[in-house]
Symmetry: C2
Subunit: 221 residues, 2 copies
Amino acid sequence: MPIPKDFHSPTQITARERAYSQLQRWIIDGTLKPGEKLHDGELADALGVSRTPVREALQLLEVQGFVEMHRGRDTRVTAIDKSDILKLYPPLAALQSLACETVAPTIRIEQTDQLRRINVELSNAINYREFFRAMELDEQFHDLIVEMADNPYITGFISMLQLHIRRFKYVFLQQPVSSSEASVVEHAAIIDAFDRRDSSTAAEVVKQNWLRPMNELFKMI
Amino acid sequence: MPIPKDFHSPTQITARERAYSQLQRWIIDGTLKPGEKLHDGELADALGVSRTPVREALQLLEVQGFVEMHRGRDTRVTAIDKSDILKLYPPLAALQSLACETVAPTIRIEQTDQLRRINVELSNAINYREFFRAMELDEQFHDLIVEMADNPYITGFISMLQLHIRRFKYVFLQQPVSSSEASVVEHAAIIDAFDRRDSSTAAEVVKQNWLRPMNELFKMI
DNA sequence: AAACATTTGTCCGTATGTATA
DNA sequence: ATATACATACGGACAAATGTT
């Protein structure tokens, strides 16, 4: 495998990055609960670093909406409410839809073939009741389209929204939600639209493919 | 006027916030040029604070895409390329469009009236060749719709994209770009769609209302 | 009302990493 | 290959702000 010359391998992960990923994980998986008070000193001890990188990590998490800092008062994990999914999914659907629209006019056959392969695997996983694998494949399908759109603003915002949705699922249902057979059909429709270079149909189907899970989730809770 | 109890007036602005807003301003207005190297020590001196709040500000700016930090190497203002507008406007248009779609079904008459008032003022400003005022009113029009959508994720991402667009305009054209009479017509169409509770038309018109300036800008540069 | 306890915010010295000679 | 120069990353002490007694 050829390794690009200008690729700087992250030889050493910084303390801030460690703190950041760990705290984010803890917030998303519910180890740190919504509304919980965070002491930077304690967290620093727990993570084996000083307060500085912890504070820096907390500030980044604040920008992402996982933490609220009140100067001189306290720092807390943000609250979370059932109605939040109704705020998270629509922008996600809109941007996934945009990604499709962007990709459709110039998509190449190798790319649609890859989507087809993933969708076949997804179908199999659902039939064999491998629900975790199904969830992963569903993510792969959409991530691949987003990646093809090649727009860092879209990519960044989508992944942030997905992290919040993941937290939501962890907090309100203790287990991951499986993809259904309906997804496979919708994915096929998306691929079909891609084959015809039909941006608007692709965009529309993707939107529904994301709003349907929102409504299912909203009924469940 | 009733003052909410839990409203904490920002009595004292922190050093980090000062550093953050000032650096952001300097990057957007081109005082700090794309690709320019940033020394946290120098910036700290210039801002009259220590290096810590400067570093924290730089990290926030990095998340927003205004700064790139390379550990142990350097910290620079991000480069900017003409093709960037083609990446900035589409997600902005998609989210503005979503905001409209969200608001349309439940919009109240006072709200459409307010939009109408702004649009009349915008029309006047253009006729009187008050271009700066026209630009402000155009912003007000869209910001009001976004605010009505009442979704912090949409709001946050839109304002970030707008900051990048503002920088783009400062860097490539030295002056703000005025809104045209075409905007006024499109705004009227949006308001009309709102009156009819026609989400999809409103969404579609808004999208075009944002993609048109993108194409005009792209031709100019 | 004022002093105290608690928590966050800031400073600056030092350690560590990176590129260059 | 090693040393050196330079920039960033981190740590720990101190300052300031807030809420409370």
